[in-house]
Amino acid sequence: MTAAPRPDVVIVGAGIVGAACAYALAREQLRVLICDAGFPGGGATAAGMGHIVVMDDSPAQLALSALSRRLWEELAATLSLACEDERPGTLWIAASGEEFSALDEKRALYGRAGVRAEILDEQTLAAAEPNLRRGLAGALFVPDDRVLYPPNAARWLLDAAIERGAELRIGSAARAVGAGRLTLVGPSGAVETVEAGAVVIAAGIDTPSLIPGIAIVPRKGHLVITDRYPGLLHSQLVELGYLHSAHSMSGASTAFNLQPRSTGQVLIGSSRELAGRDASINPAIVRDMVARAVAFMPALAGCLAIRTWTGFRPATPDKLPLIGPWPDLPGVWIAAGHEGLGITTATGSAALIAAGIAGRAAPIDATPFLPSRPMPAMEAA
């Protein structure tokens, strides 16, 4: 039994999103209680690539990811070494002349959002990444994109929140969320009712079990990691077609997405499929993904792969996260549904939640993310 004072905010879920919310809210001088049914950063956050990337699938996504990257930049100097934070930048690869001609528009879009970007032609790209296959038309280089190690970044955000007075409960599962209240079941089975000014649900793919009817489904992804090959590539390499793979909800898709880790390892992504919660490896998907990667970078064929794993992105039908008050339950806020961009957009989402709860103006237009927005039906797989 703890006789701790009533928290101002209870956060459910200590993945990267919940952890970022805890940090942002603790910085508002609010008394924060954050709980996780498992351990912090053990959900989708433990599986993600950790690419902090500005994406332009929609204007709202561009605004949120640009804001979020800026907030990560502000934290960069203070992050622990274990967060493996680096700034290798992103190369958006145009395989064909047709794709290359689309880069101008992408660069202009980024420019309007205050994001530096530069077009590399065939030769400059080959010089920058000599292990890419020859004959690629060029790339858009976004130098300020980052890579970090998500589970430890989540842990760092939590520790920073705890330093500012937040309380973390590990192995504590929320149930029965009501207006400004919920039930917590502790590791030993002890049941406790907690009341708070605000409840923030940041439970990733488990959000629907607390908020029935909310439109979030698990979207499975595969990754393969190699042994250490420092210098094989320098920036995160993503094919322009990635946006298409990420955007389309129907069927299974793979895209070339290659990441240099600070350890010298290479992380090979990525795939998307709706497959329920079956965490097993689908060899056909791995084959497609790896074939694509080797087609772009032939030298990868001889590198040793040491592990493959899967993770579940919390996906929404309109490809935007749900951030803001839940209309059916006063005092309940949602910060979930970040699909494949939640490591990046955790910081921006937390800024929106903190502004909302503190009653301040939001740093960007919050309406595209409001959980009350009309939602299209989920496309069938």
């Binding site: 950063g41 053990g42 393969v224 090979i268 084959r287 497609d288 001889g302 590198c303």
Partner: protein, 419 residues
Amino acid sequence: MSDHHAVDVAVVGAGPAGLSAAVHAAESGARVTVIDQTWHAGGQIWRHRDRAELPDEARALMARFEASGAQHLAGTSLFDARPGHLSVLGPNGSLELIAGAVVLATGARERFLPFPGWTLPNVFGVGGLQALVKAGLEVNGKRIVLSGSGPLLFPVAATLAQHGAQLAAVCEQAPRGRVTRFAASLWREPGKLAQAARYRSTFRHVPFRMGTWIERAEGEGRVQRAILTDGTRRWSVDCDMVGAACGLIPSVEVGMAMGCDIVNGVVAVDARQQTSVAGVYAAGECTGVAGEDAAIVEGAIAGLSAAGRPAEALYARRDRGRAFAARLETAFSPRPELRDRADATTIVCRCEDVRLDELRAEWGARQGKLASRAGMGACQGRVCGAALAHLFGWEAPRVRPPLVPVPVSALRPAEPLRD
């Protein structure tokens, strides 16, 4: 290039259990393929020896294997396994083996428990040192300390003595009481007793110390001294090499990947040597460490069962082997004091250079791995997993393909890209 190959029985591992399974399945008329990542049949125990030196039963089994018609894919690693379906990589590329039944005979490996200095050059495992000597490591005139546990110590000491090493100490961590009770029970196995006596005679001038273990290894650039202890006294022994481990642990990763129940660290099997997954059998040390005799009879039962033949006649002999395994386990389990050796700066995960003080006992294996990288390296926790289980009681690391590191190209399709 990926290729398909269908067989009735696929056997994983070409040690005593695997060879015995292959022989019995093939002699029952099944099409059998045996895969092993090394180049020679025989497993840890027989592989490095001259055929002429092998015990009669081993020689007979190897000859029967060669005559059985079973196919032997040497230098071939299994990197993904589902019931009935094995992905292997051999000298000619990758191959998909479609098997009606699978026999797992993946053996055991040494249990390494970290102590200060265990990562110094010239500190090896106990069985590891023996394998190196058989592969040509020069030990003539070298002063060597052995600190281990269980029946493996004697043959290794014998091999080292025969190669001219000066054994500075041979230490068994298990307390004298446990060892003598175990030895007394060996009247049921007169052959084993005689064998132990033969081994002992090759290093009879060296004291065999029970209830004694290495506490730390010290030296500049390589090991020069071992600090030994019996729990009350400690003393220093000068040496050029150390062989240190704590017995064997079953290699259960392939069983785990296939979804077989793992109980108390071994692949669980029924009377027919079938695992919890229909059509997947297991034999030998992956089902419990009991030595070559038990492995051979378990392999025979598994091979007959996998080929759909009865094997009841062999059960009694197998059950004696299992009882022996249980007595081994009781006698030679690691003593708790071994836990206290590692200090804050001792490396616990060699692949990723993780120190003990980077871990917290309250984490489990998965949280510990994510937070510290322990178990994330190329061996995927095969070495540090046992150490972390001993130090903190953490569960065994989960396996994911590839089960062993393979070139990225092995994961690539023969089929054209889907779009």
